[in-house]
């Protein structure tokens, strides 16, 4: 047995929100469980009720619209990583999803869970930041949109309340609108959390570049946008390195020292620019 909790599997978003509301902060949303069950086992969390949202049909969709991707909150990461449409429209998201955990973990873990767990190292977070994604959140007052940029408030902390559940992740991704890339430094070739991860996007029309960095601050960090017009990849990456050094505050932990993170971050940013340049997105 892992901990002591009750289990409920509501069929609708409204029923899930009511359950969370009744139990106040004593209940936890249970999707893939690959973070939650480990935290319960380790004694870091002790919810009295798990509200399993995998039985809600609305949360299990992956819809490819004209201008956006809509990924239901209970959709497993393998479905995201293996979707041809996702890879075609937003290659960074497919790559980031594929870099998480193992095949078994990705069969359970969800995109929404990866961001809502709010690890500074969450691999999909930098991608969602540079793509301008938003979460559709249901709470006692109804539904609202929360930009991913406004989600992270600290290590493992978000702006969502204990009565909220995420319905879907909505990502602007019109065909051919964005070139994207995701890079991750890890200790071993197999499955590992990121020592540093970075994602970049370039708007094909405006040539505006957005870059986000993970594992180098209490939250994933979206850097100020960069106008790439008339700039060489080398000039752009130097600009990004300056921005990233100001916006991040790497620490030493079990995966790497702060000085290693400070050393590898510029390397990843240069590679990111080179990758986007190779796609023709940068000068």
């Amino acid at each position: 047995m892992i901990g002591r909790f009750e289990y409920a599997r509501p069929k609708s978003v409204e029923d899930a929100v009511s359950l969370l509301r009744e139990r106040g902060g004593d209940a936890a949303v249970y999707a893939g469980g690959t973070d939650l069950l480990v935290e319960i086992r380790n004694g870091h969390r002790a919810p009295a009720l798990l509200v399993d949202v995998k039985g809600i049909d609305e949360l299990r969709r992956l819809e490819i619209g004209e201008t956006e991707l809509r990924i239901g909150a209970a959709t497993p990461l393998n479905a995201v990583a293996e979707s041809r449409a996702v890879r075609h429209r937003l290659v960074a998201l497919a790559d980031a999803a594929l870099s998480i955990g193992t095949y078994q973990i990705r069969g359970r873990a969800t995109l929404a869970g990866n961001v809502c767990n709010a690890s500074p190292a969450a691999d999909t977070a930098p991608v969602l930041l540079v793509a301008g994604a938003e979460l559709i959140v249901a709470g006692p007052a109804g539904r609202r949109s929360v930009p991913v940029q406004e989600l992270f408030t600290g290590v493992k902390r978000t702006s969502l309340s204990a009565e909220d559940i995420v319905v879907e992740v909505r990502i602007p991704a019109a065909e051919g609108a964005l070139e994207t890339a995701f890079l991750k430094q890890q200790r071993i070739r197999g499955h590992d959390l990121a020592v540093v991860n970075v994602a970049g996007s370039v708007d094909v029309d405006t040539r505006r570049m957005a870059v986000a960095v993970g594992s180098c601050a209490p939250t994933p960090v979206l850097l100020d946008p960069v106008d790439t017009r008339g700039q060489s990849p080398a000039e752009i990456s130097e600009r990004l390195i300056t921005l990233a050094e100001k916006a991040t505050s790497p620490i030493s932990d079990v995966r790497a020292s702060a000085s290693y993170r400070r050393a590898i971050l510029p390397v990843l940013l240069r590679r990111l620019c080179d990758r986007l340049a190779a796609e023709g997105a940068v000068a």
């Binding site: 480990v38 095949y103 973990i105 359970r108």
Partner: protein, 161 residues
Amino acid sequence: MHPISFTVNGERQELCVPSSMTLLELIRDALHLTGTKEGCSIGECGACTVLLDGTPVTSCLVLAVEADGCELTTIEGEAHGGELSSLQQAFIEAGAVQCGFCTPGMILSARALLSRTDDPGEDEILEAIAGNLCRCTGYEAILEAVRIAARRRRPGEAGDA
């Protein structure tokens, strides 16, 4: 307690499970199918891998109650009528089994891979078993076993893995 109904290796089961029981505990302690191993208990090692509706999961990170309505396949479902599957046979031929602790999970991850494709590339095989740690073999013999089993499944080549 939750009443659940599911099939394990094709056989129907109905029982009551507590909320916080894991699928791994259900398999080993309630169904007494001890081929499934417990390693790390946090989804890292893959020793407890089983197939839930054909999808490989680490059963330490799944609740028993979630088996309700599902088809569960454990390593005991791999052999039929005392005959090893040709995937199991390939593991023996390639010398892919040493201490054996990772083998049940490894075989089920490989089984799921072969159900997705008859002709997996090297990267696909590596990705499929990246979540199953082996401390004995160095993996080469395991990769070879999966290649042998895949080859035997392809049309025009012998075998029935």
